[in-house]
Symmetry: C2
Subunit: 385 residues, 2 copies
């Protein structure tokens, strides 16, 4: 059984997903990666989205570091690294959201995530090459991102009187994620502190009665459940943070947090799974009220890739059969609806009924990241189990 999954993921990763991106995504002329790719790899938007530049660098370098020292993977990472280092910075040392094909700034988003993924790309590239300059840039960016998250005005996001201080699940996760990547190569006592805070942060988002992690919780005493923001649940996000937490606990063991993480995986699957049409919802309101997100009932690829890896991880940690049952269900749904053996890679977006709504394989938010990361991590867990 586990061998079947492992073989499926290995074949998918190496014969379908990686070749698709290697073939269609690299912009040898201007540097960096095209990510807006139609079903067959045709570029339908030449812009360079920095979340996805950083993520693809990270992924190519990670494959090089952990699967095989293939020169073409390192070269692909180099293509991205050189591009972002030249073009990603604005005049205040922040990172743009998107660039033109040639690297001219196109859009600035008042969020830290472009910088987060570029930091991860630089760091993984350092691990591949050993060249200190990439490490230094990554660490420098890491601390600045921490400041931006603490003080959003630094990102030009005004701090407004009516907006209470919220803890946002994405921010908790990215800070922990970057830190976990840094610790194996850099000894700094502050990292453990960041992890400790992240662990406490996750707990703040946990609803014990439902066993899920919600998106936004107040940092002080306010109640925000009269707002949709305060009732928002993203099953994929909750599951992703739960497996991040399990990774974090390797550095900071804690049995009750381990139980919380496992419960969050199961609770999120139970609440997020569509009993009528299958698949996991994108967004839900925990009180069953309407969401403001129009795309809430759609089924997105990444929600399912995160669930697959979380389930592989949960099973290999516990050997409890309940995880295998869920894995079978999610795996089957994902391979029936998202995978595209004909052209390679996965589709990204289905409607509630599971019908593909967009023929694209990559866009402004889907790149060379969630599918290969989930496949790689799953293979690695299944191999070591």
């Amino acid at each position: 059984m586990l061998d079947t999954y492992r073989e499926c993921y290995r074949k998918d990763l190496l014969d379908s997903v990686v070749p698709f991106w290697l073939k269609h995504s690299l912009d040898h002329e201007c540097g960096g990666y095209f990510t807006c790719l139609d079903r067959d790899g045709t570029v339908f938007d030449t812009k360079k989205y920095l979340w996805l530049q950083g993520r693809a660098i990270w992924m190519f370098a990670r494959l090089y570091n952990e699967v095989e020292r293939r020169q073409e993977w390192l070269d692909a990472a180099t293509l991205g690294v050189e591009f972002i280092r030249k073009h990603m910075w604005d005049e205040k040392g922040r990172v743009y959201f998107s660039l033109t094909r040639e690297g001219k700034p196109f859009f600035y988003q008042r969020k830290p995530y472009a910088a987060v993924f570029c930091m991860m790309g630089l760091l993984e590239y350092y691990k591949a090459t050993g060249e200190r300059v990439y490490f230094d840039e990554a660490v420098d960016l890491y601390w600045r991102i921490g400041e931006w998250v603490k003080n959003p005005a630094l990102m030009d996001r005004p701090v407004l009187e009516g907006a209470p201080s919220l803890s946002n699940l994405a921010n908790v996760m990215v800070l922990a994620g970057m830190t976990l990547e840094l610790m194996p190569v850099h000894d700094d006592p502050r990292y453990l502190q960041v992890l400790q805070q992240a662990a406490e942060g996750v707990v703040r988002h946990y609803l014990p009665d439902r066993r899920i992690l919600i998106e936004n919780v107040p940092l002080s005493g306010e109640r925000i459940d009269e707002w949709p923001e305060g009732r928002l649940f993203s099953p994929g996000h909750s599951i992703e943070v739960a497996w991040f937490l399990l990774h974090l606990l390797e550095r900071l063991p804690d049995e009750s947090l381990r139980r919380l993480a496992l419960d969050a995986i199961e609770g999120s699957l139970e609440m997020g799974w569509d009993p009528e049409y299958g698949g996991l919802y994108y967004f839900m309101d925990i009180q069953g009220k309407p969401t403001l997100q129009l795309e809430a009932s759609m089924k997105l690829w990444w929600v399912h890739t995160e669930a697959i890896y979380a389930l592989v991880l949960a099973y290999t940690l516990t050997h409890e059969p309940r995880w295998l049952e869920w894995l079978e269900r999610v795996h089957t749904y994902a391979y029936q609806h998202f995978a595209d053996p004909e052209y390679g890679e996965w589709f990204g977006y289905c409607d509630r009924y599971g019908k593909v709504t967009h023929t694209l394989k990559g866009g402004s938010y889907k790149g060379f990241f969630h599918v290969p990361r989930s496949l790689l991590f799953s293979i690695q867990r299944l191999e070591s189990a």
Copy 2:
């Protein structure tokens, strides 16, 4: 035939739509309007969204000005006007996007539309009351919005080297829309100039071979069709701008523009109508490439209300039967899918297949505006025809 429509719209407006909002939307305690209302009117978000505050003021005052001098309509408008005048401004004289229930600033959007709709509300309220202060504030805001549109840096939207100067269809439309509302009450030769520029602006967005208006066109020679932004078509928006243009032409008659506007209505319906499941799409790519909007294939209420009024207008202007055929089709779809005779008002969001995806009657973008405006304007045209 026309009598049937007129009666249907009158009944819908006065017995279903207006009572729904009067009953559920007014916040007598804190002022302003709740707009996030579930199917039965239950408030699911107490925040005050300024696009929708301005639009509701405009609508209540318009009903008072043009249907009947009902005190409760004027009172409802007053409730909004007092609220926005107290709370909408940021420290730079710009308008927030959303406020808490009490009026504290919650979010600032780098766009001019909140200000546009507040300007329209103030102006219509001036027409209802004759009190000069509202007129002065509206005119002052009008000229400032013009500056913001010309120079987005004033809205904190950085002007970036890689982002070419684009004409955006929404901006063309709102400038014309505000101007058309001002002209009956204010004699200023500059208004005609603004209309002239708006008319030229619309022409720039017109694709003669497809007979549609597209969302973004370059202001100088660049080609932007390698970007999804440059290929984006919103059928509802194209139709809405076309009827705006027909209104504009009452001030600035031009036979070829009149033909263009009518062609844009027909072309947009032909390209935007879903031949398989009926209804008009939200977004399309004119080259059939994937859109970046996940909700592109959904069917939205406002797209259909704009089509209904555009068709009533086109028919009453031309008496050509082709418009009645389309009206029958759009009207039937809209009343079968969006109207909710049980609780009043319309649903807003259906999936491609016409199934309601969100039970809400109002949200952060749906308020007391598109449905009643379309019904009122249609009734008025049908009465005068």
